[in-house]
């Protein structure tokens, strides 16, 4: 029951609500603008769900079919909208089921607030029914976490959680609330958090470092940029574009940097890393200046660190001081939010055409096109390729769709060949490589951005890891376009087995169910494509649909993703075949 009390503070009248902890949780979510959340109820979180029932006109709670689906949906929502995603679960198995999504969010810097119910505080540590130490379990994979045992802690902890999740380098936060704290009545007041004493969201910008960086850029003959998700998280797309265009610097992206710069931009030279493009990988070892912008030199990007850009000076634009010198030593570290530091450096850099240097990229692009892309996109063999499916999606979407990819070969094909005009359009599990990510993440992305086309691309393996979320689509009517590229294999593992394990295909071949029948079972329009002549029309039919749609494309069983940098090799040793 809600009651109101009046308090006097500094002469002003301030209204306090006398409410339960559970109702306070809902009020906190509303204060933070979290009106679309994902979750799964259970015993220890029932008081909060009871309040959600009361507030269902204000908060849309989406019942996913598994708690893992809730975190991935919240991630998809966060990545597509730039807002904080929220996932709720009960204690014990409900809470532990969130962990994969939380770990994924941690490594990909996705802002999440996860709320878990917990057994009553007098039962803590007694191995009570559905009790797990979720704070202990989630500690290594959260930016911050906290267990609430008193209702009065709820407003302050929620305010702090949202502030920490979204500020600086974003990340997941977990709040565990004991059941007695959910029932307890207290006087509720909410104040948003704007600072935490021990936490500095953004490091101070050193203008001296900005000047040093500008001098290096101005004197470089062959500078090259590798940009990551920091550009998107910092909402610095315009500043980044102005920066690269003034100095005409070829710019390559990491998997999570994709879509920060339109694919068609003349300075966009492709993806770096294990399955990245030939030119930016090879020329990483020829540039005289490597400028890292909001990226963390992941091992999938660098290959062998002892042979990575050793000839180049390195400038690192980064918000997280712990990333400086972690993997690659920076000659100049420009700490701060890239939105600010790129704006600061713009007036200090000189205009430059760099035609000859850009031509080197173009020449290597031609080699990659002839040796890899031509056959990927316009195959001479009968079997359908994953790349040609992407080509048709590009044609149908015009590059305006949000592409949510799962993990595996199809993910690499999606990132290599999908065209993007707009930022926040590539949603994939980059750092953790979580199979099963795409289906729930695409639901979150679509619900967060209902006016945009959301196309999910998965393999037959990853699709089945969270296939139950078709039920969430059935219930929410989220108009997600689901594309499964079915090669009846765990394709990426099979490729590695072929190349590095003497074709010993241990447990990678899959006998699959009738995917179309399953989709139809969930009342989703569905079609299966086995022939090239049906592909374009089927993709168009899918994209024209106003509702959710499932498209299975049977692709070549043993198609490989190239280029490829084998583990431990140098980026310039990239293989084209």
């Amino acid at each position: 029951m809600t009651t109101k009390t009046q308090t006097q503070s500094n002469g002003a009248s301030k209204q306090k609500l006398h409410i339960s902890g559970a109702e306070a949780v809902v009020k906190c979510l509303l204060e933070e603008g979290a009106d679309l959340i994902y979750g799964y109820p259970g015993g220890a979180i029932m008081p909060v769900y009871d309040e959600l029932y009361k507030y269902e006109d204000k908060i849309n709670h989406v019942l996913t079919r598994h708690e893992q689906g809730a975190t991935h949906a919240a991630q998809g929502f966060a990545r597509a909208t730039g807002k904080v995603g929220v996932a709720i679960a009960t204690s014990g198995p409900g809470a532990t089921n969130l962990i994969t999504g939380i770990a994924d969010a941690q490594i990909d810097s996705t802002p999440l607030v996860c709320i878990t119910g917990q057994v009553a505080s007098h039962l803590l540590g007694s191995d009570a029914f559905q009790e797990t130490d979720i704070v202990g379990i989630s500690t290594p994979v959260t930016k911050w976490n906290y267990q609430i045992t008193k209702a009065s802690e709820i407003p302050e902890i929620f305010a702090k959680a949202f502030y920490i999740a979204k500020s600086g380098r974003p990340g997941p936060v977990l709040i565990d609330i004991t059941k007695d704290a959910q029932f307890e009545m207290f006087d509720f007041e909410y104040e948003k958090c704007t600072s935490v004493r021990s936490y500095k969201a953004k490091p101070d910008v050193s203008l001296d470092k900005v000047k040093e960086a500008a001098e290096l850029i101005n004197s470089a003959k062959k500078p090259m940029i590798v940009f990551g998700q920091g550009v998107i998280l910092g909402q610095a797309e315009e500043e980044f574009k102005a920066f690269i265009e003034k100095a005409n610097i070829p710019s390559a992206w990491t998997i999570l940097g994709l879509s920060a710069l339109p694919t068609a931009h003349e300075l966009n030279v492709g993806m770096v890393g294990m399955h990245g493009n030939y030119a930016p990988n090879v020329l990483t070892n020829q540039c005289d200046l490597l400028i890292a912008v909001g990226m963390r030199f992941d091992d999938r990007v660098t290959g062998d660190l002892n042979r990575y850009a050793k000839q180049a000076k390195v400038i690192h634009f980064e918000i997280d001081p712990a990333e400086i010198d972690k993997n690659v030593k920076a000659d100049v570290a420009v700490l701060g939010d890239v939105k600010q530091t790129l704006a600061d450096i713009l007036p200090l850099i000189n205009k430059n055409s760099r035609e000859a240097w850009l031509n080197e990229f173009a020449e290597l692009d031609k080699i990659e096109y002839e040796k890899v892309q031509k056959e990927d996109l316009y195959p001479t063999k009968d079997g359908l390729t994953m790349a040609e499916v992407l080509k048709e999606i590009n044609i149908a979407s015009g590059g305006d769709a949000i592409i949510v990819s799962d993990v595996g070969q199809h993910q690499m094909f999606a990132c290599r060949y999908a065209k993007f005009n707009k930022t926040k359009s590539n949603i994939t599990s980059g750092g953790l490589g979580t199979m099963g990510f795409a289906l729930p993440a695409s639901i979150g992305a679509k619900m967060g951005m209902p006016d945009r086309e959301v196309v999910m691309i998965a393999g037959d393996g990853g699709y089945q890891m969270n296939i139950q979320e078709l039920g969430t689509i059935l219930q929410t009517k989220a108009a997600v376009k689901i594309v499964v590229l079915n090669n009846e294999f765990l394709g990426m593992v099979r490729q590695w087995q072929q190349l590095f394990f003497d074709r010993r295909y241990a447990s990678t071949e899959m006998t699959n169910p009738d995917f179309v029948a399953i989709a139809k079972g969930y009342s989703i329009d569905a079609k299966k494509v086995t022939k090239r002549e049906d592909l374009a029309s089927s993709v168009k039919e899918m994209m024209d649909s106003k509702d959710a749609y499932f498209l299975e494309v049977c692709v070549e069983k043993e198609n490989n993703v190239f280029p490829m940098i084998p583990t431990g090799a140098s980026v310039s040793d990239i293989r084209l075949e």
Binding site: P140, W144, S198, K200
Partner: protein, 174 residues
């Protein structure tokens, strides 16, 4: 490979549950054994001070400090070499009271080692010693032949020779 050496790590944190778990996890992930650890109040109200001893390379300790400082409730972390600090450990020995009565040598050891008896009864007495790791080890070996009933030593505590401006930092972050 760069040489490993002993570093004292000083970490100032908010006095909150769970921070020990976060800090120890950073070392665990990197397979670095914490040689000793002490957690206490600091000179600032509600701020705890962790003092850890680890044997790593300078490159490793720099990266670890970066990861520690990322933790929301960590205010500041520092690393120091032995030359940068004034440090002590403390230990307690439990020995048989009979050995004290029957053996003059123990009296001499107590006096020369600057240790002190802090508890005595008819069965045993407890000897306390503060000093460097080496001094404590030397005393252990000297007393060992007289039969040590129990022995316990603390983690290192250390004060830096240089100033650590935590109060200024806290003001800046507010």
């Amino acid at each position: 490979m760069e040489n490993r050496q002993t570093y004292t790590v000083s970490i100032y944190t908010e006095n909150k549950l769970g921070i020990l778990n976060r800090i120890s996890g950073i070392f665990l992930r990197r397979h670095i054994n914490i040689e000793s650890m002490n957690i206490s109040k600091s000179e600032i109200k509600s701020v705890s001070r962790f003092t850890l001893l680890v044997k790593v390379t300078e490159e490793q300790i720099k990266k670890i400090i970066g990861q520690i400082e990322k933790q929301v409730e960590v205010i500041k972390a520092y690393y120091h070499t032995d030359e940068d600090t004034i440090y002590q450990e403390s230990c307690l020995f439990k020995l048989s009271s009979q050995s004290l009565i029957a053996n003059d040598e123990i009296q001499t050891i107590i006096n020369s080692s600057k240790s002190r008896i802090i508890n005595i009864n008819k069965d045993f007495f407890v000897l306390e010693k503060s000093g460097t790791k080496e001094e404590i080890e030397e005393l252990y070996h000297t007393l060992d032949k007289h039969g040590i009933m129990q022995f316990v030593r603390s983690g290192r505590i250390a004060i830096t020779k240089d100033e650590m401006k935590i109060s200024t930092l806290l003001l800046e972050n507010n």
